[in-house]
């Protein structure tokens, strides 16, 4: 089985978010970048397929040279090959078109992408990639098993979960649950050394349209002071929620 894992290079979850150039660009100053958490769950599940079922695992990312350390980390975790599509990831549709080309050319059986990146939260790349390449797709995937050419997948739905089967090739939008948090791997020294020797191929993007563009960013208004209520007077809280906030 050939697996392709799509990786986004995103600010660490603890990052403070700021913008520059008149609030038109994300300020990367002092920001630590990581593998997008939703992608990391998928990558870790791919490692399971590699170890238990002999799958090969490639990783791909759309980004500039600055994203290479994130791809190297994926190689250190255990991916076999990395591909960087040399373009800025600014529109989900554009990114999906780039990834679709790689997915098709590589003849992958399973493509795993995070259900969304934690920076732009577009949440559209996995589905678009599946539709462009015309293969089956399951989103918000929290479990996957593959036997022969058939996958059994578990999807998180609002208020529960749903199990389905689909023939490969398949694209999934993955998230926490594909593996447990405690199964995520920190690359060891051997992995890091080996990652340096593994191929990281840089390819140029194909011609493709951008359908959307983030033109301006804005931070939320600073929050007003909290209204404190005495623990012996919870009636006051109920009164405030009813009459002032009007939420109960």
């Amino acid at each position: 089985m050939k697996i392709l894992v799509c990786i986004s290079h995103v600010p660490d979850t603890t990052s403070k978010i700021n913008f520059t150039e008149g609030d038109t660009k994300f300020d990367t100053n002092g920001v630590q970048f990581v593998i997008n958490p939703n992608d990391e769950f998928g990558l870790t599940r791919a490692m399971w397929f590699k170890e238990k079922q002999g799958a090969s695992v490639d990783v791909v990312n759309v980004g500039g040279a600055e994203t290479e350390p994130t791809l190297r980390k994926a190689l250190a975790i255990g991916a076999d090959n990395a591909i960087r599509i040399n373009a800025q990831a600014t529109d989900g549709f554009y990114v999906a078109r780039q990834l679709a080309k790689v997915a098709q050319d590589g003849g992958y059986d399973l493509v795993i992408a995070g259900r969304e990146s934690i920076d732009y939260n577009g949440g559209m790349v996995p589905g678009m990639l599946a539709a462009i390449t015309d293969v089956n797709f399951v989103n918000t995937c929290i479990g996957i098993e593959v036997e022969g050419d058939t996958a059994t997948v578990v999807r998180e739905i609002d208020g529960g979960k749903e199990t389905s089967t689909a023939k490969l090739p398949l694209v999934i939008g993955g998230q926490k649950g594909l593996v447990a948090e405690s199964d995520l791997r920190i690359p060891n020294m051997r992995g890091i050394m080996m990652a340096r020797k593994k191929p990281l191929n840089v390819i140029e993007p194909i011609e493709a349209n951008q359908e959307t563009k983030a033109v301006q960013f804005q931070k939320p208004e600073p929050k007003g002071e909290v209204t404190l209520v005495d623990p012996d007077n919870v009636d006051q809280l109920i009164e405030l929620l009813h009459n002032e906030a009007k939420v109960i």
């Binding site: 600010p11 979850t13 913008f19 958490p37 989900g92 549709f93 999906a96 732009y120 939260n121 949440g123 559209m124 790349v125 589905g127 678009m128 539709a131 089956n136 797709f137 399951v138 989103n139 918000t140 739905i157 609002d158 208020g159 529960g160 979960k161 749903e162 199990t163 389905s164 089967t165 689909a166 023939k167 939008g173 926490k176 405690s182 951008q210 359908e211 959307t212 563009k213 983030a214 033109v215 960013f217 804005q218 931070k219 939320p220 929050k223 909290v226 209204t227 404190l228 209520v229 005495d230 623990p231 919870v234 009636d235 809280l237 109920i238 405030l240 929620l241 906030a245 939420v247 109960i248």
Partner: protein, 322 residues
């Protein structure tokens, strides 16, 4: 060129989110001087959509569409959009809508903006405000394609009644077998509980509750309020509560009207995930907990004393206001 809106149903009735996206679509239609057409698949009583601004409802009744199927549903909406010549398609942020919308975007070659929180800032260029960086920021996104898909964030617009009355029309899309490549074998859904996605109120517990055995009062409080229950990341990592309850940056996003955090300290990742909620209440015995900086109302006190009192008083309040 009406505005097309996909209105979801559950057990033969429209979901509240369906009424919200209809209200929102009506808002865009007014800006563009056009009308709203809804697509309903094995749906509820179409006249209900009229109350929120739909003038026409395309009713699809097909047993093959009894279970949600993203590809087939996207194909139905695509065919409806083409028939109506719709330039704007509105969907909700339910897990099903977020599943089908990217497919629809490809079928219609449409730019798609998710997590949109308000009516377009302008319609030419078409610009919408959405959340980004998991609620740590907003961004204005311009959609330049001919057809545009807008995904409205839950509870961002609310319900707005309108004077339209909906004309129902039967719609029979063509459905290819190739749409049914993903086949559902089991659905496991708690029918007696409110899901976090659909909830107007969410009650959330953190590590301060000391152990899973203490969740009884969280569930009781949620029950009194008709709320969903949620938890912080450490609580789900320790296995005190199911992963599906984990809310935050790597868990589920919450955009409820009221979010009550009990024994949750308020790590930056947690706050990001729940920040879209309108009103936040924190109950914590540590006055220095970061959550107090993010909350609208707070009680510094022992949850094991405050919460039972709150439950008791809320029951009184509910019976007086029933």
């Amino acid at each position: 060129m009406s505005i097309l809106v996909y209105t979801e149903s559950e057990n033969g009735a429209f979901k509240k989110g369906a009424l919200e996206v209809t209200s929102y679509a009506k808002g865009i239609a007014d800006m563009l001087g056009t009308t709203v057409t809804a697509v309903s698949i094995n749906g509820g009583d179409s006249s209900e959509l009229g109350v929120y601004g739909a003038e026409k409802v395309l009713e699809v009744k097909d047993d093959k569409l009894g279970n949600f199927n993203a590809k087939a549903y996207a194909s139905v909406i695509e065919q409806a959009a083409k028939q109506e010549g719709a330039k704007v398609v509105v969907v909700s942020s339910s897990s099903d809508s977020k599943f089908l919308a990217p497919l629809l975007a490809v079928y219609l070659e449409a730019g798609y903006a998710t997590n949109v929180v308000a009516l377009p800032e302008s319609t030419s260029p078409f610009k919408v405000k959405r959340t980004a960086f998991t609620n740590k920021a907003f961004n204005s996104t311009e959609i330049s394609s001919d057809v545009k898909i807008v995904g409205l964030s839950n509870n961002a617009f609310g319900l707005k009644e309108s004077s339209a009355s909906a004309a129902a029309e039967s719609f029979t899309p063509s459905l290819e077998d190739s749409n049914f490549g993903v086949q559902i074998t089991a659905i496991d859904k708690a029918t007696d509980k409110v899901s976090i996605a659909d909830a107007e109120i969410v009650v959330s517990g953190g590590r301060g509750l000391k152990g899973p055995e203490n969740w009884g009062m969280i569930e009781e409080l949620a029950d009194v309020l008709g709320a969903a229950t949620a938890c912080s990341k450490p609580v789900s990592d320790m296995g005190w509560r199911p992963h599906a309850e984990h809310v935050g940056q790597t868990g589920k996003p919450v955009a409820s009207n009221l979010y009550i955090a009990i024994g949750v300290s308020g790590a930056i990742q947690h706050l990001a995930g729940i920040n879209a909620s309108k009103v936040k209440v924190v109950i914590n015995n540590d006055a220095e907990a970061p959550f107090f900086k993010a909350a609208d109302y707070g009680i510094v006190g022992d949850a094991f004393e405050v919460v039972p009192k709150l439950i008791e008083k809320l029951k009184e309040f509910k019976s007086n206001n029933a």
